[in-house]
């Protein structure tokens, strides 16, 4: 029974929590504690998935499939495979950390904050587990709303502008995505992912190749904006520097990349191959451009934003080379990115709480005063630059080695990005934590990390190491998902099931 309802529970427990938050009194830290409990409960529920995942079983697992709306035929169809399962777990993992990161920083309008925070969790998990295109789209659009409102409410200087920029940037291409979804439905009569997949694989959708190409492109653009893929990254640095930490941690990467994997690779493999040369070029440009721009940033949040552009472009590279190991690496990189950038943003948030600035030049010699923060910062940076034994190494290695055959020139260029990432991260560490102590650091004289902050970051630091040395734990399921998604045999399997 639990296996059938686990996805529904995981998806809607945060939303139910949000409703309760709206009713709680604004007293003390009741709201924070409650949200933390909900987030932990959600995380616990997501952990059910990997423990009960059946290896070697084709198709989606933990499925629910009941009609929601009869006409058009929209079904409440949830399910996960090896890819989406880990993304759900990642979302669950980051939720309590987001609460801890906001614990003291969000000291006013807490009720509104945690209400939208929990709503955002529901929307994100919904995106990963929906197997009905329509339901998926509904959750996809819903992810924009709490995010935009929170950025606007808690922005540092120009929150509203950043929020609207973010919303319009992603909402406009989503409109075309909807056109694509509806066109597919108009011709095939179904929103169901598995059915669409088999119809498209057997090439009897009734749509011309030309039309299919445009639909696939509409999908791709909508997702690429959300990743963001160069040159559609205009919103990211503004959002990173304005958004509260808990929101910045989840805004980029996983939603868009997952969607590219699921739909562009799953539904439109031929069309994806057609645009692959362009996407690979954009990915490599993104890797280098992001790294180079990060190198000259004066603001740590903006540096994190461009570093994110750079490392997410690795995922695009891995996906569009179509080798199994490359795509495996891309999925693993999504997880790593979520974990590592999450940690980086948490640490930056702690610095900001103490000193009120992200300006690199204001800092200096911090390591003596805050040894544990410096340690964790260095660990996170090493994971980010892909040091062996850390998680980033595994995924970047898989991506680069998986995509090298056939794309040697591009991949060689991308490798330079790895070196550049080491340059900008280590240079920032050197300027912030070592060297002579700046006057600001001397004057402020603040304490090192408190237990709450340590509890928030240490699990991530350990996880980064574990994900580096025990990667098969994750990659086994991921690989099954990827093989199933890309192999034509799997397509006919699901066709038989239907």
């Amino acid at each position: 029974v639990l296996n059938e309802n686990i996805l529904t529970l995981t998806t809607f427990v945060p939303a139910a929590g949000a409703v309760v938050v709206a009713l709680l009194p604004r007293q003390g830290r009741i709201i924070q504690w409650f949200t933390l409990a909900v987030a932990l409960l959600t995380f616990g529920l997501t952990l059910h998935l990997p423990f009960h995942y059946q290896y070697g079983r084709p198709g989606f697992q933990f499925e629910v499939n009941v009609p929601w709306i009869t006409s058009p035929a929209i079904r409440y169809h949830l399910g996960v495979d090896g890819i989406s399962m880990w993304l759900v777990v990642l979302t669950g993992f980051l939720a309590p950390l987001g609460v801890l990161a906001s614990w003291t920083k969000i000291d006013h309008r807490t009720k509104e904050f945690y209400f939208f925070f929990l709503l955002q969790q529901t929307a994100m998990i919904g995106v990963f587990v929906s197997l009905d295109m329509f339901l998926y789209y509904a959750f996809w659009e819903l992810t924009l709303v709490p995010m935009a409102i929170l950025i606007s409410m808690f922005g540092r200087y120009r929150g509203t502008e950043a929020a609207i920029k973010f919303f319009v940037y992603t909402f406009l291409p989503s409109a075309l995505l909807l056109v694509g979804i509806v066109l597919l439905y108009a011709k095939t009569g179904t929103f169901d992912f598995a059915q669409l997949q088999s119809i498209l694989a057997q090439n009897n959708s009734g749509l011309s190749p030309h039309a299919l190409f445009w639909i696939a492109l509409a999908f791709l653009v909508a997702f690429a904006v959300k990743v963001p893929v160069f040159p559609l990254h205009g919103w990211l640095s503004d959002v990173f520097s304005e958004a509260p930490t808990a929101m910045a941690m989840v805004v980029a990467g996983k939603l868009g990349l997952y969607s590219i994997l699921r739909f562009n690779l799953g539904l439109f493999p031929a069309q994806a191959r057609k645009v692959a040369p362009v996407m690979i070029a954009l990915a490599v440009i993104g890797i280098l451009y992001g790294a180079l721009v990060a190198l000259v940033q004066k603001d740590m949040k903006r540096l994190a934003a461009f570093s994110t552009v750079s490392s997410l472009s690795f995922c695009i590279l891995g996906i569009f080379c179509f080798s199994i190991s490359g795509v495996d690496g891309a999925v693993y990189q999504i997880l790593n990115e979520g974990v590592t950038v999450g940690a980086l943003l948490l640490l930056l948030g702690f610095l900001y709480e103490r000193y009120g600035t992200y300006e690199i030049s204001s800092y200096g010699g911090l390591a003596k005063r805050m040894p544990s923060l410096a340690t964790l910062f260095v660990v996170t940076s090493l994971a980010l630059v892909g040091l062996p034994l850390m998680n980033g190494f595994v995924s970047e290695f898989l991506i680069l080695s998986g995509s090298f055959p056939g794309h040697a020139a591009w991949v060689s260029a991308a490798t330079a990005g790895v070196i550049l990432s080491a340059a900008y991260m280590l240079w920032m560490i050197q300027r912030v934590f070592y060297g002579t102590e700046s006057t600001m650091v001397t004057k402020a004289n603040t304490a090192d990390m408190n237990p709450r902050e340590l509890i928030a970051v240490w699990p991530i630091a350990i996880l980064m190491l574990v994900m580096g040395v025990a990667s098969p734990l994750w990659i086994r399921a991921i690989n099954e998902g990827v093989v199933q998604l890309t192999a034509p045999a799997a397509v006919s399997m699901s066709a038989v099931k239907q």
Binding site: I69, A138, E141, I149, S152, I164, V168
Partner: protein
């Protein structure tokens, strides 16, 4: 089968008129200092009775009465229910606003009821002359309502503007009817459709449709006949705008459906192009116009122009699916727009203190319920999933895509992306701190009638967004009363 008594076919209209007349008779004999709330209650009762009667009409076998001028069927009942519900909400919004002020609330209540009667009759009339008469009844009531706040300068100005332009547009409508008679020798909608292929003067018929489209285009504020909308909405009292931005438009869309699909299906290639242009223009003009507005009521006025455009898109589908999509759209538009104006009306109070987007800053903290409700309606207007606005757009564009209108769909959806910008500006303002220099706004207190109005509109928008099937199946039944436009569809 027993013949249906003729009176049954117009029962909701009768109830509305009787209540209106009663109110006009009671109010003069009431002591001047006495509260006017009982009158309001009577009006509410009348509307609820009309609502009940409309639903009861569903049990009647479909048919006509009064020499084939009035027809009750699933189509008319659908629109009756939508219109009566909106009127109910409009009365609830005004319940406390007009009480205790110098204006006579009885006037307001009676006019709303007469207007509602006209609108209801518009949706069940199948004789063009009766359509015209009922259109006039509803229009004249709304002209006066727009001007009801006599002591402020803007309200009478709005009323006058609305009246002048409105009567100009009605004249076009009347010309259209005259030309229809010239072309076919009849003004009965079903007979027009039957006579049209045999018409000696088909050019008249095309001209007639064009004229009628101008008249209706004005009523639903579709571009290029939309110029009056922002001025009138800005000047008229908010509770009145809640009514006139929704109910008359719903009724006008019903008339448009009856005329295009009921009377003129034979020449659809002519009106199709006109409606296509009106739809594309309305969406674009409305949304681009709204982008630059700082005044919230003007912004919502432009937004209503855009929404008229979205609804017109479904006309181009030329199918029952399209008709059902129009009907669904009007219902969900009515719910969310009336709701948004309910908040605007209450937050601004009688003097309409809150004008610009900046004035709405922090409303969600001063009153979480009001702010939350407005945020919800704005999300629905944007078309975020799990709200009525989303499914409304979804059905409209699905119908258009089925008919192969890919470009109109892309224009429409690109427009809804642009629209997100201005709705969000207001939405984010609700959750932002006001500027330090801004005067402290009082906290609007929620009273029972407004809470009820919000409850009705929020739950309607939510139900339309989560269980759209309920409404859609009724709309489909309504659409089934039409013969399809071309044989193949």
């Amino acid at each position: 089968m027993m013949p249906v008594p003729q009176i049954d076919r117009i029962l909701p209209e009768l109830l509305l008129v009787i209540t209106g007349v009663l109110i006009m008779l009671i109010e003069p004999v009431m002591p001047p200092r006495m509260t006017r709330k009982p009158i309001g209650l009577l009006a509410l009762l009348g509307v609820v009775a009309a609502l009940g009667a409309s639903i009861w009409q569903l049990g009647l076998p479909p048919g006509t009465a009064f020499y084939g001028t009035v027809q009750t069927d699933a189509f008319s009942v659908f629109f009756h229910v939508v219109i009566c519900s909106v009127v109910l909400v409009a009365l609830l919004i005004a319940f406390d606003v007009f009480d205790g002020t110098k204006e006579r609330p009885a006037e307001y209540y009676a006019l709303v009821l007469f207007g509602a009667m006209g609108m209801c009759l518009m949706t069940s009339a199948v004789e063009l002359l009766l359509v015209f008469v009922s259109l006039e009844i509803s229009s004249i009531a709304t002209y006066i309502l727009a001007a009801i706040r006599k002591r402020s300068g803007k309200s009478p100005e709005a009323g006058l503007k609305y009246f002048l332009l409105g009567s100009f547009a009605t004249a076009f409508f009347l010309y259209g009817i005259a030309l229809t008679f010239g072309a076919t020798g009849t003004t009965n909608i079903a007979e027009v459709a039957a006579m049209l292929p045999k018409s000696q003067t088909p050019a008249f018929a095309t001209l007639a449709v064009a004229m009628i489209l101008i008249g209706i285009g004005f009523k639903v504020s579709a571009a290029p006949f939309q110029v009056w909308t922002p001025d009138v909405y800005e000047g008229a009292p908010s509770p009145v705008v809640a009514l006139m931005s929704t109910a008359p438009k719903v009724a006008a869309f019903a008339v448009l459906l009856r005329i295009t699909y009921g009377a003129y299906p034979a020449i659809h290639e002519h009106w199709l192009l006109l409606i296509w242009i009106m739809a594309a223009l309305s969406m674009t003009v409305g949304n681009l116009g709204a982008l630059r507005q700082q005044n919230v009521k003007r912004m919502l006025a432009y937004s209503s122009i855009a929404h008229a455009g979205y609804a017109l898109v479904a006309f181009t589908a030329l199918s029952r699916e399209g008709i059902a999509a129009v009907m669904f759209y009007t219902a969900s538009y009515a719910a969310m727009n009336a709701g948004a104006f309910a908040v605007v009306s209450h937050a601004g109070g009688y003097d309409e203190k809150l004008l610009s987007v900046a004035d709405y800053k922090g409303l969600a903290y001063r009153s979480p319920l009001l702010g939350g409700a407005l945020a919800f309606f704005l999300l629905s207007l944007i078309g975020i999933p799990f709200t009525g606005g989303f499914f409304a757009k979804f059905y409209v564009f699905t119908a258009a895509l089925h008919a192969g209108e890919v470009w109109l769909t892309i224009i429409g959806l690109a427009n809804s992306g642009v629209a997100a910008y201005y709705y969000l500006r207001l939405l984010t303002a609700l959750y932002n701190k006001p500027a330090d220099s801004a005067p402290v706004q009082s906290v609007p207190r929620l009273n029972f009638s407004l809470s009820l109005a919000l409850l009705l509109t929020v739950s309607a928008t939510l139900i339309l967004g989560i269980f759209p099937n309920l409404t859609l199946s009724v709309a489909r039944a309504g659409a089934a009363t039409f013969n399809t436009v071309s044989g193949s569809k």
